[in-house]
Symmetry: C2
Subunit: 258 residues, 2 copies
Amino acid sequence: MIGGEDGGWLTVAGLGPGSEALITPEVNAALNEASDVIGYIPYVARVGSRAGLTLHPSDNRVELDRAAHALELAAQGRRVVVVSSGDPGVFAMAAAIFEALEAGPARWRDLDIRVLPGITAMLAASARAGAPLGHDFCAINLSDNLKPWSLIERRLRLAAEADFAMAFYNPRSRTRSEGFARVLELLREVCGPERPVLFARAVSTPDEQLRFVPLGQACADMADMRTMVIVGSSLTRIIERAAGPILYTPRSAPCLAS
Amino acid sequence: MIGGEDGGWLTVAGLGPGSEALITPEVNAALNEASDVIGYIPYVARVGSRAGLTLHPSDNRVELDRAAHALELAAQGRRVVVVSSGDPGVFAMAAAIFEALEAGPARWRDLDIRVLPGITAMLAASARAGAPLGHDFCAINLSDNLKPWSLIERRLRLAAEADFAMAFYNPRSRTRSEGFARVLELLREVCGPERPVLFARAVSTPDEQLRFVPLGQACADMADMRTMVIVGSSLTRIIERAAGPILYTPRSAPCLAS
């Protein structure tokens, strides 16, 4: 039993990218002890129902309401797991929980709160493709729901100048592709058309699909809401093989290409 | 059974940051099927010995020799797992394997090679502290064994200008602390003394220790070879609580602080 004798607790847990073989034992233990599981509909659907467990699926874009609900249930003595896909600390529910905690009643600060890491999408995608994040890299959320487009653009230019490999979360919203098309255009200007790009869709699920293209051939339609995009650094290489290409970035950087 | 009927295979597997509760079922399955486990001494020591399993511990800084050895054993029909701490694709053995593969005999390219992701140190540290990597971030290896100091410095300046939270791997070598002291000095110049810094040592092991300090009070001695350092972005905040502080970066960035 986690937490006090009769006390509630709140655990924010990462379910990994999709396969059960990628869920840590720690997360499974928390789910087994939970009285309530809260999260975005498709993530809650990954948790099996059982006697004594209440599932609380909710829609996208209600993260703060969901976070406050989870905190309040824990304050009432429930054993609450908030589930995220991937890792809860990477563009997911952990930050939303702490935003709600900070804005909420002081008594919430006495709650037993834990975050349990998970296999985040960029590392699952990287492993399937080889090791494109084997040297310095950055992770950028391309959704402009929560930040201005000007900041995304500025960050992309500086990241390219720093010669990071780049992992992009949420390349496309449900309805729009213009933002991601502009990202690709900007990167082509700075990095040139030969830079390797990985589109990794639904890694570790039956829908998994990997696509390797040079930046000059990358287009926004190659990503959907289940796609992770990784753009290599100037050093990222492809090894061709009969069994399929390997994308990797060597550990050494002899000098900056600029 | 992974791979062909009698064929050897090579799997590069991430053991996570230390606790067995953070090793994925996929990695445990590979270890159970292995005939040979290869890696740096303390990582191989985490794998239990059993009949039919040969352990090949080796010292640090021999990554390419180790990689070639692993590939050659797999080519001889052995079932080989190369173990890394954390995630094998993040400053670890996966890139070394592909460097050796690319430089080695053509027959190696027909081998069955897989990379299995693991919980990387920065995400384990982030989860323990709250969610400091909850907005855009970068990961930088501070070791200058494999890249020039000038590149590290240039990348740090650009990353700070982009207002990334930053996760630093290998802040200190076995013998030297000057490099990391220069990193802290550079960041103080660019980010100011109030920026929150997390020193997270040996997360998920009995030696775990977290320390939260403002950048102005951070010094190189606070890190050793088992320490992960996370420096917040301009938006990273601390929530004070009786149970210990929470460090997190909100999901929203209203505008760039510059």
